[in-house]
C-alpha cells in the first residue's frame, strides 16, 4: 500500500474545487481549460481556469481527474495553489510546489505532480494562444513511445527536479515504465546531463577568466558591495548557469560573508559546492572583494 501523507488522503477523500467551470460570458472574464494525460496512460487531468482578462489574475480553478489517489489529491492541491495568482506567477508553479503542498508524495507517484504542472501550463498556453504543439516541450525526438515522452521533456524534468537515477525519471515522467525499450536512451540523456552539470564549475571559471577584471583597491560601503556583487552575478555568472538549466540569486550579505541561493539544476547538484567556491567566490574576490566568502543557503 502506498504511504500517502494525511494531506494527500484528506484531499482525496474530500477534494476541493472539483468539477468544471462554465463560461457565463461575464465581462472581463475568460474561461479556459488545459488537459494532459489519457485513459490509455492511466491518468488524465482537465484543469479549468477562470481568468480576469484585465489583470490576468486567476479568479477560480477547478479540476476533473481520472486517476489514482495521488492524482486526485495533486489536482485538488494545484487548484488551491493557483487561485489568486496571476498567469505569470502561476507559470512559476513547479511540480515540487504541488508535492510540497501535499506534504510530499511517494517517489513512484511524482508523475502525478508533474501532470498537474503540465495541465496548468497547457491551460495558460491555450489562453494566450500559444499552440501547445508549438511549445518546445512537444518538439523533438520521441524517446518513450509507450507514454509519448519526448527528449526535450525528459531533459527539462531531469534538470528542473535534479533527477539523478533512471528510476526517478520513470517515477516523474513514466518514461521507461512501459515496455522498457527506451530505458537505455533515457539513461544516456541522464548521463549526458550529469556530465554537463559536473563540468559547469570548470567552464564557468574558464568563461569568467575572459571577463575584464577591475581591481578596486578602495574599501567599499555595504551598499557598494551589494551593487558590485549583484552586477557580477547578473552579468557574468547567471548567464552561464542559466545555459545549463541553473541559476543563482543573492540572498544576504553580512560584512564579507555572502549568502546565495542556487536554483534550478544547480540546486542539489553534486557540483554545487564547486560552483559556489571555485566559480562565484573566486570571481567576486577577483573583482575587488579579496576577503569575501560565499555560502549557499537553502530557502
Amino acid at each position: 500500500m502506498w504511504n500517502y501523507s494525511q494531506k494527500v488522503l484528506d484531499l482525496f477523500y474530500n477534494p476541493v474545487n472539483q468539477g468544471a467551470i462554465t463560461d457565463e460570458q461575464e465581462p472581463d472574464v475568460a474561461v479556459v481549460f488545459g488537459e494532459v494525460g489519457s485513459i490509455a496512460c492511466g491518468d488524465a487531468l482537465r484543469l479549468h481556469l477562470k481568468i480576469q482578462v484585465s489583470t490576468e489574475a486567476i479568479l477560480d480553478a477547478k479540476f476533473q481527474t481520472f486517476g489514482c489517489t495521488s492524482a486526485i489529491a495533486s489536482s485538488s492541491a494545484l487548484t488551491e495553489i493557483v487561485k489568486g495568482k496571476t498567469l505569470d506567477e502561476a507559470l512559476q508553479v513547479s511540480n515540487h510546489d504541488i508535492a510540497n503542498y501535499l506534504g510530499g508524495l511517494p517517489e513512484a507517484k511524482m508523475h502525478c505532480s508533474v501532470m498537474g504542472q503540465e495541465a496548468l501550463e497547457a491551460a495558460i498556453f491555450r489562453y494566450r494562444g500559444i499552440k501547445v504543439e508549438d511549445h518546445e516541450e512537444d518538439e523533438g525526438n520521441l524517446v518513450c513511445s509507450c507514454y509519448a515522452v519526448t527528449e526535450p521533456r525528459i531533459r527539462r524534468i531531469i534538470i528542473e527536479n535534479n533527477l539523478t537515477t533512471l528510476e526517478q525519471v520513470t517515477n516523474y515522467l513514466k518514461a521507461g515504465g512501459g515496455c522498457g525499450t527506451c530505458l537505455a536512451a533515457v539513461e544516456d540523456i541522464l548521463q549526458e546531463i550529469q556530465q554537463q552539470q559536473a563540468a559547469v564549475p570548470t567552464r564557468l571559471a574558464a568563461e569568467l577568466a575572459t571577463v575584464d577584471m577591475t581591481t578596486a583597491a578602495l574599501p567599499m560601503t555595504t551598499l557598494q558591495k551589494i551593487s558590485l556583487i549583484q552586477q557580477v552575478l547578473d552579468q557574468e555568472i547567471r548567464p552561464v548557469l542559466r545555459a545549463d538549466g541553473g541559476d543563482v540569486e543573492l540572498f544576504d550579505i553580512n560584512g564579507d560573508h555572502v549568502q546565495v541561493v542556487l536554483k534550478g539544476a544547480c540546486h542539489g547538484c553534486s557540483s554545487s559546492t564547486a560552483t559556489v567556491k571555485y566559480a562565484i567566490e573566486a570571481q567576486l574576490r577577483q573583482r575587488g572583494l579579496p576577503t569575501l566568502t560565499v555560502e549557499e543557503v537553502t530557502v
Binding site: 502506498w2 488522503l9 482525496f12 477523500y13 477534494p15 472539483q18 468539477g19 488537459e35 489519457s38 485513459i39 490509455a40 492511466g42 491518468d43 488524465a44 487531468l45 482537465r46 479540476f63 476533473q64 481527474t65 481520472f66 486517476g67 489514482c68 489517489t69 492524482a71 486526485i72 513512484a108 507514454y147 520513470t170 513514466k174 515504465g177 512501459g178
Partner: protein
C-alpha cells in the same frame, strides 16, 4: 472491522490449522531428520500431513514434495522438466501466467530456449488450436495455470494435457489458485507436476508443495541434504507442513460447500452490475473459480476505488497501473485485450469460506456511492462514448 475480499492474494489461517501447528512451534521442535525418537515423532506427523495433501489431490503420498511457496514450486517444475529432456529447447506457456512462470520463461529465453506464449481471448480463454499449432517434437514443457489469479478463469487442463502428451512433452500446472476451490483428481490425470501454495488455502505463508507424478524423471532444484527423499533439500518446515496438511483436510471438507461461495460471488456480481452502470465482468461467461469476480468500472481508476473501499475496511485488489508498482496495468487484462477504460478501473473481489452474506451486502451498500463519487471527479464520465471512440479506447 475488516471485510476481507482479497483471498486470491492470501487467506486467513484457519483457527483449526493454527491449533494444529502450534505444538510444533513450542514443545515439538524436533528435527524430523534426527535419529532419536524426539525428532522421529515429528517425522510421523509430516507423513500424516503428506497423506492429507495427497488425498486432497487424489495423489500418492510419495508424489508430494513439500517446499516453501508457489514460486519455488513453479521454478522447480520448469527446472525439472527441462532437465528431464535436455535435448528439447522449446517451452509453451500462456500470456496470463503468474510472474513466477513468466519471468522464469523470459530468463530461459536469454539462455537460448524458445518460448511460445499462448494468447487468450476477450474472456480470458485459451484457444486449443493455437496450442496444437505451437507444439513440436522439440517441445520439452507445457506449463499453464489451472485457474487465473486475477479473473478466476479456469483452463481446460485435461484437454491441454492430452495435446501435450501427443508430443511427448512434460505437463506442469500451476494450481495455486485452484487447489481447495475446485475438485482435483490427479489419479487419472495427464498432469506430470502441479504446484500449490499453503497461504491460498488457509495455511500460513512459507509452505507449499509440488506434486510430481510417480515415474517422472525428477531432478531437484534445491540441492543439499536428503530431505523429501532427496528431492528438495533443506530442514523441513514442520509447523508449516503440519498446517498445510490440516488445511488440505479442511479444504476437502469445504469443497462440498463451495456453492455457498459461488452464490455469494454471483450475488455480488449481479447486484453490482444492476446497481452501477458502465461496468462489466472480466472473464464473465467463461468457466471460473467460484470465489472470484473481476469487474471493470469505466471512467475511473482502480487504485482510487481501493482507497475508497479501504475507508470502509473493505479489502480488494486492482489490475490498474497505479497499483502495480510498475506503470503498466495487469498483464492478464492486457492479454485479454480489454479496452483501457475497463482495465484501468478493474477491481478483483475474491471470497473465501469465511466470507458472509452480510459482508457482501456491505460492499453492495457502499460501492455505488464510491463509483458515483469518483465518476463525478472524472473528466471522461460525461464525455463517454464519443470521446472514447475518438481516441480508440472504447
Amino acid at each position: 472491522m475488516v471485510i476481507y475480499l482479497d483471498n486470491n492474494a492470501t487467506t486467513r489461517v484457519d483457527p483449526d490449522v493454527l491449533e494444529a501447528m502450534l505444538p510444533y512451534l513450542s514443545d515439538l521442535y524436533g528435527n524430523p531428520s534426527s535419529m532419536h525418537s524426539f525428532g522421529g515423532q515429528v517425522g510421523a506427523d509430516i507423513l500424516k500431513a503428506r497423506g492429507q495433501v495427497a488425498e486432497l489431490l487424489g495423489a500418492e503420498e510419495t508424489e508430494i514434495i513439500f517446499n516453501s511457496c508457489g514460486s519455488e514450486g513453479n521454478n522447480t517444475a520448469i527446472h525439472a522438466a527441462l532437465a528431464a529432456q535436455p535435448d528439447k529447447r522449446h517451452i509453451v506457456t500462456t500470456a496470463v501466467e503468474h510472474p513466477a512462470i513468466l519471468n522464469v520463461c523470459k530468463h530461459l529465453e536469454k539462455k537460448g530456449y524458445r518460448v511460445t506464449y499462448l494468447s487468450v481471448d476477450r474472456r480470458g480463454q485459451l484457444d486449443l488450436l493455437e496450442l496444437e499449432a505451437a507444439m513440436t517434437g522439440g517441445t520439452a514443457l507445457v506449463t499453464t495455470m489451472y485457474a487465473n489469479n486475477e479473473t478466476g478463469v479456469i483452463f481446460p487442463v485435461e484437454q491441454i494435457g492430452a495435446i501435450t502428451k501427443d508430443y511427448g512433452a512434460t505437463f506442469h500446472v500451476d494450481a495455486v489458485q485452484a487447489v481447495g476451490k475446485v475438485p482435483i483428481d490427479l489419479s487419472t490425470s495427464t498432469i506430470d507436476m502441479l504446484t500449490l501454495s499453503g497461504h491460498k488455502l488457509h495455511a500460513p505463508k512459507g509452505i507449499g508443495a509440488l506434486y510430481v507424478r510417480r515415474g517422472f524423471r525428477f531432478r531437484p532444484f534445491l540441492l543439499g541434504g536428503h530431505q523429501e527423499r532427496g528431492r528438495r533439500a533443506g530442514t523441513q518446515n514442520v509447523p508449516g507442513i503440519v498446517a498445510l496438511g490440516k488445511a488440505a483436510e479442511l479444504a476437502q471438507t469445504h469443497l462440498y460447500n463451495v456453492e455457498r461461495e459461488r452464490r455469494l460471488r454471483d450475488l455480488l456480481e449481479t447486484q453490482l452490475q444492476s446497481q452501477i452502470p458502465d461496468c462489466e465482468v472480466n472473464g464473465g461467461g467463461a468457466s471460473r473459480l467460484p470465489n472470484t469476480t473481476n469487474i471493470g468500472f469505466k471512467y475511473i481508476e482502480g487504485e482510487a476505488i481501493l482507497f475508497m473501499l479501504n475507508q470502509y475496511g473493505i479489502c480488494a485488489s486492482s489490475g490498474s497501473a497505479c497499483t502495480s508498482g510498475s506503470l503498466e496495468p495487469s498483464h492478464v487484462l492486457m492479454a485479454m485485450q480489454l479496452p483501457y477504460v475497463i482495465l484501468h478501473g478493474s477491481i478483483r473481489f475474491s471470497l473465501s469460506r469465511f466470507t458472509t452474506e452480510h459482508e457482501i451486502r456491505q460492499v453492495l451498500t457502499v460501492m455505488p456511492g464510491i463509483v458515483d463519487k469518483l465518476r463525478s471527479l472524472s473528466p471522461f464520465n460525461n464525455d463517454r462514448a464519443d470521446w472514447l471512440q475518438s481516441r480508440n479506447v472504447a
